[in-house]
Subunit: 151 residues, 2 copies
């Protein structure tokens, strides 16, 4: 997500997070906010350790608990192929299935919603009598910006 007005982007993500927490009857506490804001400094993947380094309270359980909560609440994604995290830009739709375009050069992540592809994936699963509950689609590669830079 190189071409977003990131100040705006971040502000609306924070608003959304507050709304989601309220809806869940959970609190958007200082620790959770701390992790969330660190992640939303950019759209780049950050490991738990990266985040921990920037936390006010740097103790592992604090960070891991907040990450766990934010993930379960659909506010962030666990980028499994990097074992890292990134803010989710479709938090308002808790059931969405995103496709993460992960730049291996700059770690920037662009999340898109590939509706056609997803319906094909679900169809393929159903053909095997498989009942999906959680889908990860991750593509590693080179983003637009890095592509342009090296050419």
């Amino acid at each position: 997500m190189t071409n977003c007005d990131h100040t705006l982007c971040k502000t609306s993500a924070l608003k959304e997070a507050e709304r989601v927490c309220e809806q869940l009857g959970a609190r958007f506490t200082d620790q959770r906010r701390n992790v969330f804001e660190i992640l939303w400094q950019s759209h780049k993947a950050m490991t738990a350790a990266d985040i921990m380094n920037e936390m006010t309270n740097k103790q592992p359980p604090i960070t891991y608990r907040a990450l766990e909560f934010l993930k379960k609440s659909g506010l962030i994604h666990h980028v499994t192929s990097l074992n890292a995290y990134v803010g989710c830009i479709y938090a308002k739709d808790p059931n969405h299935i995103g496709q993460l375009l992960i730049c291996t050069n700059c770690r920037d992540i662009n999340e898109i919603e590939p509706k056609n592809a997803v319906s094909e994936l679900i169809k393929a699963a159903k053909n095997q009598d498989f009942t999906p509950s959680l889908t990860h689609i991750e593509m590693l590669g080179i983003c637009k910006t890095c592509n342009n830079a090296t050419s």
Copy 2:
């Protein structure tokens, strides 16, 4: 992959592994074979620790090195959402993109090739000027067998 003739399945996987190694100019050594055979006892996801427990030589570096080699050679998949491994049934096509249907109940994994979905995913990526190199598609859910068992 509940309904495969697994004896046959395993035998042909071993043959394929030998062929791939020869083609790469690499050796299908005892350690690599040990890991490979342990993984191919079933189509279930196994963690590095699971595998290590069954190895003849149980030292971590032995296991991790063999896993790394088999993964790079396209003979096994790293199941990132479980941080586990499973044998690849499309090893003959090193460029294939598989969809892993992962049963969260029995850990059995069914790998299929969703050509339509994949072409949609690639199209979506290209629309963002993203150049993909490696794609992970993982679906967590309940497999046919477990579905039937609980109903």
